[in-house]
Symmetry: C2
Subunit: 338 residues, 2 copies
């Protein structure tokens, strides 16, 4: 499944153009599943001069400063014309430093917006997922999950996490929330993440994830191995004849030595970013396949133990600093750091 | 056939590393033909603080300023360890504004270097091509061609053209030179070029070409069509449902509208550069296939007429200015302009 973003596509190239081109699947020649996020997260992290009311949110584009108003109804209309298989409600994403009162107010608004999204939906071939909010407050998380499940959505996402809070807090909130979501519907943790967080979250009951991390860090030369992330720019790789992960059967690892990748990154060849991205996405696919197989075979706990015994997680401070750098560069109109 | 460059590879990652990795074919996982240029052209266009003597050339790397000496013997040794299928003699490339005396002196040196390269060659599985020099002086071109053909190389290149001189002068020099090169050996025009120049040069007897133009202009959004180059960034393409060239069967044109490519370029998505490069290289392959078929069928002249009737050449001043901008950016260590 590919995730696309209603905020970005609405601003550029514009929903009308994608609709004219036959919808998002045809526009990008991808005939498998697509999920579109409503753009709530992007409006609250990228756009400028936001004014939120119960009606909706007024913001200025991070690209050209133009002013736009998005309501729950418009968020659905945009996503219906994009035509993804799974679409998301419009939600408000508070900062994780906000106090409980502010987060509660924002959560209530997200609940009302979720109901309006549900009513605004006209296409029945798209699955509309609700988004549980409530910040880092267990009580709010429980209220949000209870309320939204009463509305009977076909799937539930957990939003407002992985925003810079400590990983242990992310996992605590996941645990609080997931317990209240129906087991027979997809439970989707938004914006997560790293291999180690995915394994931990699956252990708590999460089924779906999305994250720019594997592609973003690939473009910076950080490649996944079963021992942890490796920076291919490191001089140690200049003469490495093996692929970056000898146990990987992706196009990159089947064909190229780590030394070749190292060389491409040093020369800033565009092929570097492509080969690294192919590897990291293949690694994530392989990880998810192993997880599914282990669950089916009833061996998930031992898989998790053996994964954790080998995989050295990325230093948490480094990870948060890298993500912040990326967010900063995006909100200044510079999408890419590589 | 892929062209690689001994100058670049010698400086980075270093010949020793490529040799250790099993040679250039294996290093870049390309099992078809490779040609390496000796680096003569790069030393005279990219490197700094050059001192040329009959012995060889001393220069400083454009990357880190380190000092190096390349002799004809070393140029062969480097290319033997890289292991390409076709290798080139070390040549001196004068500026096209140099006077006849200077160009003649440089040509004589290139001749001596060619002989030394021939003697230095130890591998018999690589075809060593000579390079005809002589600037824009017909008399020198004839002398260079006569002298080098007397040495019996397996193939002959024409160097020192497409350096900013008017296109008519390039073609006049090609015509002078090619007439003296044996018809039963490959005749290779270095650094050319655009579709229109290739058609004109084939008409004069050229068999082989190399140029960064198709990939370089692709990264700037200039895409070949049978009507001429089109800039995909142009607003006219924002709603274009057809591929950039409906008569093209490349991966890009089979799958994507011009509007999608336009969108990717506007968003500076890395995929833009890849899809545009695939298209332009496919276009060049298709052009060469049509040329070969027409020659075999004895219809090359009518092919050339119908090509020229449709294809609008790029404005010559624009073309030279773009190339100069690229050369400038490279010699300042900024490889890519996109």
């Amino acid at each position: 499944m590919v995730l696309a973003n209603a905020y970005h596509l609405y601003l550029r190239p514009g929903t009308d153009i994608i609709e004219k081109m036959g919808g998002l699947h045809r526009f990008m020649a991808w005939d498998r599943a697509i999920l579109t996020d409503s753009g709530g997260y992007q409006i609250f992290s990228l756009a400028r001069l936001r004014e939120v009311s119960d009606e909706g949110v007024v913001f200025r584009s991070h690209i050209d400063g133009s002013q736009h108003t998005i309501t729950p109804e418009l968020a659905i209309q945009i996503q219906e014309s994009l035509g993804a298989d799974i679409i998301m409600v419009l939600d408000e994403c508070p900062s994780y430093q906000d106090n409980m009162e502010k987060v509660a107010e924002s959560m209530e608004r997200t609940h009302k917006w979720a109901e309006r999204c549900q009513k605004a939906q006209t296409r029945r071939d798209q699955a509309l997922f609700a988004i549980v909010q409530g910040g880092v407050f267990p009580e709010l998380r429980r209220r949000s999950a209870s309320y939204l499940t009463s509305l009977e959505f076909p799937g539930y996402a957990i939003g407002g996490l992985s925003l810079g809070e400590p990983r242990a807090l992310t996992q605590a909130m996941v645990e609080e929330t997931v317990a209240l979501l129906p087991e027979n519907k997809p439970r989707y943790l938004m914006g997560v993440g790293s291999p180690e967080e995915i394994v931990d979250s699956v252990a708590r009951g999460i089924d779906m994830f999305d994250s720019a991390l594997p592609t973003r860090v690939a473009r910076n030369g950080a490649l996944f191995t079963w021992q942890g992330r490796r920076n291919i720019r490191n001089a140690a790789f200049s003469q490495a004849e093996d692929p970056i992960e000898p146990d990987c059967d992706c196009y990159t690892c089947r064909n190229f030595s780590a030394a070749y990748l190292h060389h491409l990154f040093r020369c800033e060849e565009l092929l570097a970013y492509r080969l690294a991205t192919i590897h990291n996405l293949s690694f994530m696919n392989s990880l998810m396949r192993k997880i599914r197989d282990a669950i089916i075979n009833g061996t998930f706990n031992s898989f998790r133990d053996s994964f954790s015994a080998r995989y050295q997680p990325t230093d948490e401070k480094l990870r948060i600093a890298q993500k912040q750098k990326w967010l900063d560069s995006r909100s200044h109109g510079k999408i890419r750091e590589g």
